[in-house]
Symmetry: C2
Subunit: 261 residues, 2 copies
């Protein structure tokens, strides 16, 4: 049965880096499809080696888009799609995700011979198209990327409210470290507070920037490194995870108290 | 004539800190109204000394909200309002702004004896309620807060697309420094590239955290400091600014090129 995973988190927290690297890890033994659901449309850049056209761009040009138009082959045959976003100020920023989900569904891209589908979803607001992967069973499990910073945890808590509201399944919290003091304790305590756990910890590493400049994943450019092993480890933890919860988000006063101590 | 200013920027970039401090600076000689348009609803916390109820919270409880219910007095008589946001996963995150603008309009809160109205607006997505201050002439001038980081400048460029689309006036770019190498050059070059300028530069300072812990602005807690003077200087630059442009945002390839050099 196809594993359908949604990765949420605050903009800039490291979702695309994590999604592209775990996809590259899975690609060794699995058929993988990565779907970018962030208007930044750059999730798949390090898999394909360049930015690919978004579904929104493509349907503007072509009335009848085919799978070949929208699905690109990346590193180790990972299949790549970008939803895209409309021009700012013109309609809902999540519209790209809505159009993309509809089209992928219609074209039968979600075929059974896929082992893993990973959605990379903007998490600064949980509304409109950005709630679709939670809402419409496009994804069965959610992981939230955070650091130990207030802003990232605030967004994570907010995403939990959306996950709970839409009765989706939280698999765990991924700590993408920013080098904050006591970062892992803070993130672990946060995870515990909302009824979840830390699925994996990814340290800060210059290899991320170095591989990104070459439009590659760490798995591709530094495949023998410790950092690559940690992405493989995270991929494995996600794949074998069987604990899912409906999270218990904190109300704002409890959250502020939690962070201030 | 009332000066109506909207401050936009990526979540966590420092909008609320800047808005509350320039409001405190203006309050000495002007009647000021601050309107939080970020679902985080914490713009006015350092002016009032605590979190105030949001308009969305209040209209849920009271059918006929009066100005006394929604407008709170803060430091030096700055008037404070928070729009709030709906529960994540339930409707548009910008709905709080839409409801708030309608109610403030109906209640005549935008009276002529106000000298300055400042909107603090989430800028990660420029859609729904978050585009309202640009769209409906609630604000006449826009300033964008950024740092030298890719994510912040990407968001700033995105906001410029919204400002241009909605034919709003960009007054300038505010650099809230994060301590990046060559930060001021990067932000200045970005401003120049989009046809604007840097209106002010605010350095990173521990006084921000220290006053925030006391739910105060730097102006209130460290009124004689250099940091307080810089907020006053920024307030003055904004107040006396007469150059406005419709910005020329960069397309994604030009933006990536700009950042990579
Ligand atoms: N573990 C890490 N170590 C160092 N830099 C990182 C790490 N993870 C992400 N980054 C950097 O942070 C920035 C944002 O990451 P990205 O994956 O694009 O975030 P998102 O997709 O959540 O917006 C990128 O410039 C990336 O190079
Ligand atoms: N100039 C500064 N120096 C140090 N910390 C700052 C500065 N400006 C903002 N911060 C900190 O950054 C965080 C985010 O600022 P905030 O004003 O709440 O951002 P926004 O309103 O854009 O989400 C806060 O914790 C604040 O204390
Ligand atoms: S639903 Fe969310 S993404 Fe769509 S217009 Fe509203 S704020 Fe923007
Ligand atoms: Mg991304
Ligand atoms: Mg704020």
């Amino acid at each position: 049965k196809t594993k359908k995973i949604a990765i949420y988190g605050k903009g800039g927290i490291g979702k695309s880096t994590i999604v592209s690297n775990i996809a590259a890890a899975y690609s060794k033994d699995h058929n993988v499809l990565v779907i970018g659901c962030d208007p930044k449309a750059d999730t798949t850049r390090t898999l394909v080696g360049k930015r690919i056209p978004t579904i929104l761009d493509i349907v503007k040009e072509k009335r009848d888009a085919s799978p070949e138009d929208i699905v690109y082959q990346g590193f180790d045959e990972v299949q790549c799609v970008e939803s895209g976003g409309p021009e700012p100020g013109v309609g809902c920023a999540g519209r790209g995700v809505i159009v993309a989900m509809g089209l992928l569904d219609k074209l039968g891209t979600f075929s059974d011979d896929l082992d893993v589908i990973i959605y990379d979803v903007l998490g600064d607001v949980v509304c409109g198209g950005f709630a679709v992967p939670l809402r419409e069973d496009f994804a069965d499990e959610v992981y939230i990327v955070t650091s130990g910073e207030y802003m990232a945890l605030y967004a994570a808590n907010n995403i939990c409210k959306g996950v709970k509201k839409l009765k989706s399944n939280l698999g765990g919290i991924i700590c993408n470290c920013r080098g904050i003091e006591n970062e892992i304790e803070i993130v672990s305590e946060f995870a515990e507070n909302i009824g979840s756990k830390v699925t994996g910890i990814i340290p800060r590493s210059k290899m991320v920037q170095q591989s990104e400049i070459d439009a590659k994943t760490v798995i591709e450019k530094f495949g023998d490194s410790k950092q690559a092993d940690l992405y493989r480890e995270l991929a494995e933890s996600i794949y074998s995870n069987e604990d899912f919860v409906i999270p218990e988000p904190m109300d704002i006063d409890k959250f502020d108290q939690f962070f201030r101590k």
